[in-house]
């Protein structure tokens, strides 16, 4: 794997992983959907400033950055097929990153779609 390839892989992975480590936007979103609401509000997994109503827009932007990160990572990783890592590693990472990309895409869609709910 060329240094340039590696650099881009790391950059894209960090774009996805760093916000997740810091604020858990994806985990929190999934948690809020799957857990029952309490007192009219969905539950959260870990408190984060992003969940404050003032930062709704930033929350969506960060989800979008994560999506770009994980998709870029998947594409870059797919291109490394002929590099030195074992076939097993290649396919496991590729399948995981594709699944994660799909999950992130779904969550980005939901985050935008749910924010457009409008009761009459």
């Amino acid at each position: 794997m060329e240094t340039k390839q590696k650099t881009w892989l790391w950059i894209s992975l960090i774009m996805f992983a760093m916000p997740e480590i810091l604020w858990n936007p994806i985990v929190n979103f999934m948690y809020s959907l799957f857990m029952p609401t309490i007192n009219g509000s969905t539950q959260i997994w870990r408190e984060s400033f992003l969940l404050n109503y003032r930062f709704d827009f930033l929350y969506k932007i960060i989800l979008l950055v994560q999506l770009i990160g994980i998709v870029t990572f998947t594409i870059n990783w797919a291109r490394t097929k002929n590099n030195s890592q074992s076939r097993l590693t290649y396919w496991v990472v590729l399948i995981l990153s594709i699944l994660l990309s799909l999950l992130t895409l779904f969550i980005v869609y939901l985050a935008y779609a749910i924010s457009h709910i409008s009761f009459p």
Binding site: F34, T37, A113
Partner: protein, 890 residues
């Protein structure tokens, strides 16, 4: 050994006597050492209230010997009425016990002596004769709450168990006994039995009594109740959530799990086992009321203590049951908080519920301030859409068909459908297009026809519709909550496209079958769900009426700007309201910022203005304030200046009269607003005014007729100062003209697109000019520094450039200044190359070929279309005239 038995007996007797006397002496000294300054505590307390009192423990002044340290205990004991005890020693009729709620603390900065581990001892102290003759104690009472009145966050471990309601108003007592021995239990027993040392016991006993009434003094501010709208409360079936389970709506195909939400045709629920959950606050990124709740919490409100939400079964709409529940909720809040009134924030249907509650409880509604947010006072055509088409209300992947099925018999949907009053003010809200193979006809349905459209054509619920009509009487739709003592405020959206007319197309195919489809509904300004005409159909003080420039009905309560405004209204806080791109607050009084179709009239002067519409509704000053009964109009006053907005979407006509209130001059501006833009402004300036002056304004012909001496005859008619239009006014006018043309939609869109392109080119040219001017200034400055242009010339050129820069907002730069600039450049002694470069830049400032070409092409095309009969000749000429005017302006 020689001691006789008699002597021995005498000795024993003497010893016993001496011992007895010594004991008696000791005991009497023991009790006589102290005098307790008894100051009985007798207070009246509400639940969760505190009181403090003091008492002192000191040596008896008559006791003189130095005895050093003397310890004492303070032990509490409750009293027993009549001192009647059962066989087990339990009091038959105990006095309500205050002891658990008492606490003692030494004052005088004296270190308290550790309390010994003896049952019921409250405190222990120590005195010293002669160095510490008195201890002062602080006695605190903190009473618990009564059952059913405790706040949600009530901590029993801190405050004690809630008291039964039966004790409310009873006098609670606790006696504190001060003893100098370490046998307080025995002392208590003595007292129970009213035997030995009773006098001493009473002497040393502090009687503490408190009457717990359970009624709190009124809080400093009213508690707040948030009443959500339709769909704003969770509904469950056992542990299964039917509304709102977003995840299930996403994964469940058809969403039939929601079927139990339906009502039967007789308006009874199809499943009676459903229960109400919480009022919805936040679902992932959908913020319904959470933002508002948090904004209140930022102001110190605590949910469950002085901030409440009202969950209710919204399916029933404005029903007796929901009104009774609201009444009970307000009563509960009053009881819990001790407040005499409650402030209410009502969203959408919640507002209708509050209005009906106030109507039904004219004198005992206990509402102080009420803020109506997006309330459909006369209904909303979107309800018709939900009935005939279904609506997912933005819930991802929620099936419209399922919502249509559920809506069919839900009373609330009918309560939200447009009322007779809506039809009277806004006109038809259903249009039917009948399309045959070779012809088509359309009909705007009147109110009765629209009802038949629902009940006959779509087989919807006749009874529910009748009930809705019975609710939306003229009395209800026009009910003035202020007459019931409610301080009413309203925040309504005014810029979002809102459904005002459902268009149903019935197309017959060659087999005679009718296919029903729906065209894009007609839209008009509102909050996306409730048209302005409905939201503003509310008698209210003008100063309490706000318009939200960015409103999304379903999220209004938590939207930026709106939530701050609500909190400011309720709490008197001064949270800043965000501004839009143009620096205008996004929630404001001024309806003209909504930029609808109509006329904006401003009067700057000692002059009053009165407006009456074609139906006799009046807007203007009356004794005691402003009256504004004209639908969707606004009337504001700032000092002597008056600002009036009069809508003319529906062809309204107005009679506008003026009369002088002082001597001087006045200026009147009349602006036409079309499609959100000011198309023309006519100004009548510096016209003399006296208190005798009367007059009227003809906004159609732009004529001001004045009766200067007040004799009833018009003395002069005045035309506006100048009707020269700015570039932007001309563009707005041409757009408005195109909007009104009776031409094919495609052609209309094409023309509007080309006007938009023209606007872009004008904008680009403005930016280009600004850049050229900046570069030119830099160039001159550099050449001056290099000594290639002398300072005097450079300064002169820079001054001319400054003048042009000041005009850079206008595309047409002053030709005189441009000529002067060119002449100046030509006159200075610099290299030819440099001179040519500078002149070329100036010429670039004057170039407008792109814009002129666009205008010319547009004119040619319009002429062509007119020749083909696609645009009426008169319209084409009007457009070409306007284009020529634009060319003249640039």
């Amino acid at each position: 050994m020689a001691l006789s038995k008699k002597t021995l007996k005498l000795g024993i007797v003497l010893l016993v006597v001496i011992s007895t006397f010594s004991g008696v002496f000791f005991l009497s000294a023991f009790f006589a050492n102290f005098a307790v300054n008894v100051q009985n505590v007798d207070v009246t307390l509400g639940s969760l209230q505190s009181s403090n009192s003091e008492f002192a423990v000191s040596f008896d002044p008559s006791f003189s010997p130095d005895v050093g340290n003397e310890y004492y205990h303070i032990a509490p004991f409750s009293l027993c009425n009549q001192n009647e005890y059962d066989a087990y020693g339990n009091c038959v009729d105990p006095v309500p016990n205050l002891c658990p709620y008492l606490s003692l603390e030494l004052k005088d900065n004296e270190e308290p002596t550790p309390t010994p581990d003896i049952f019921d001892v409250k405190a222990t102290g120590v005195l010293n004769n002669p160095t510490d003759m008195t201890d002062n104690w602080n006695l605190s009472i903190k009473s618990p709450c009564f059952e059913g009145e405790c706040p949600a966050d009530y901590d029993e471990s801190l405050n004690g168990f809630p008291l039964p309601q039966s004790l409310k108003g009873a006098t609670f007592r606790c006696d504190l006994s001060v003893e100098t021995s370490d046998m307080p239990v025995q002392v208590r027993n003595y007292l129970k039995q009213s035997i030995a040392y009773a006098d001493d016991g009473l002497l040393n006993t502090i009687e503490v009594s408190a009457t717990l009434t359970g009624e709190l003094p009124p809080p400093a501010r009213n508690p707040v109740l948030i009443v959500p709208g339709v769909l704003g409360t969770d509904i469950n079936k056992g542990t299964e959530k039917l509304w709102l389970d977003v995840l299930r709506n996403i994964v469940d195909i058809g969403d039939q799990f929601m079927d139990p939400l339906q009502f039967n045709i007789n308006l009874t629920p199809s499943d009676t086992s459903l229960t109400i959950g919480s009022a919805i606050k936040k679902i992932a990124t959908f913020n319904y009321s959470d933002g508002l709740v948090q904004e209140f919490q930022n102001q110190g409100y605590v949910e469950g203590t002085d901030l409440f939400l009202f969950p209710y079964d919204w399916r029933y709409g404005v029903s007796e049951d929901n009104i009774n529940q609201l009444k009970q909720k307000i009563q509960d809040i009053k009881t819990q908080t001790g407040s005499s009134k409650v402030d209410v924030v009502a969203h959408s249907t919640g507002g209708l519920l509050v209005k009906k509650y106030v109507m039904d409880h004219f004198t005992d509604n206990f509402i102080d301030k009420a803020v109506f947010v997006g309330v459909p006072n006369t209904g909303a055509p979107k309800a018709i859409k939900a009935l005939v088409q279904g609506d997912s209300f933005g819930v991802p992947l929620l099936a419209d068909a399922e919502m249509k099925k559920i809506a069919k018999n839900l009373p609330v949907v009918y309560d939200l459908s447009p009322s007779q009053q809506y039809f009277n003010t806004k006109g038809s809200y259903v249009k039917v297009i009948n399309q045959n193979l070779f012809s088509s006809s359309s009909q705007d349905l009147d109110f009765n026809q629209a009802n038949l459209f629902l009940t006959n054509d779509h087989s919807l619920n006749n009874q529910a519709l009748t009930n809705a009509h019975n609710l939306h009487t003229a009395g209800f739709d026009n009910y003035d909550l202020r007459t019931s003592g409610v301080d009413l405020y309203a925040i309504d959206g005014c810029k979002a496209g809102t459904i005002t007319k459902i268009i149903e197309r019935r197309a017959k195919d060659i087999f005679g079958n009718t296919n029903i489809t729906y065209d894009q509904p007609e839209l008009s300004p509102g909050d996306g769900t409730v048209p302005m005409e409905s939201a503003t159909n509310l008698p209210i003080d003008q100063g309490n009426k706000y318009y939200a420039l960015k409103a999304d009905h379903g999220k209004m309560m938590s939207q930026d700007g709106i939530k701050e405004k609500i909190v400011n209204i309720i709490t008197g806080s001064n949270l800043s309201i965000p501004v839009n791109f143009f620096g205008i607050p996004i929630v404001l009084h001024d309806i003209t910022e909504c930029k609808l179709n109509g006329k904006a009239i401003s009067v700057f002067s000692p002059l009053d203005i009165d407006v009456t519409d074609q139906d006799g509704n009046h807007a203007g000053l009356i004794s005691g304030g402003i009256e504004n009964n004209i639908p969707n109009a606004s009337f504001d006053i700032m000092g002597e200046h008056k600002f009036v907005y009069l809508p003319d979407d529906e062809g309204q006509t107005y009679t506008i009269t003026l009369h002088g209130t002082g001597n001087g001059t006045f200026t009147l501006e009349n602006s036409d607003i079309a499609e959100n833009q000011t198309t023309q402004t006519a100004t009548f300036s510096d016209i003399p005014v006296t208190t005798n002056l009367k007059g009227n304004l003809d906004t159609e012909n732009l004529v001001l007729s004045l009766d200067t001496n007040g004799d009833g005859s018009i003395d002069e008619t005045i035309s506006p100062d100048s009707t020269d239009l700015s570039l932007y006014e001309l563009i707005a006018q041409i757009k408005a003209k195109i909007f009104t043309l009776t031409i094919k939609d495609q052609l209309k869109q094409n023309l509007l697109k080309r006007i938009s392109n023209l606007e872009k080119k004008i904008e680009n040219k403005k930016q280009k000019n600004a850049k050229i001017l900046a570069n030119l200034k830099n160039k001159i400055s550099k050449q001056e520094m290099k000594g290639k242009i002398n300072t005097a010339d450079a300064t002169e050129i820079a001054n001319l450039l400054d003048i042009l820069e000041a005009q850079s907002d206008e595309i047409a730069l002053d030709p005189v200044v441009l000529t002067n600039l060119k002449n100046k450049i030509e006159s200075i002694n610099i290299k030819t190359n440099l001179k040519n470069d500078l002149l070329k830049r100036v010429e670039n400032l004057q170039k407008k070929q792109a814009i002129v070409k666009t205008l010319s092409n547009l004119s040619k095309d319009i002429t062509k279309k007119a020749s083909k009969g696609k645009i009426a000749d008169a319209d084409a000429q009007a457009l070409i005239d306007l284009l020529a005017q634009i060319e003249g302006v640039i």
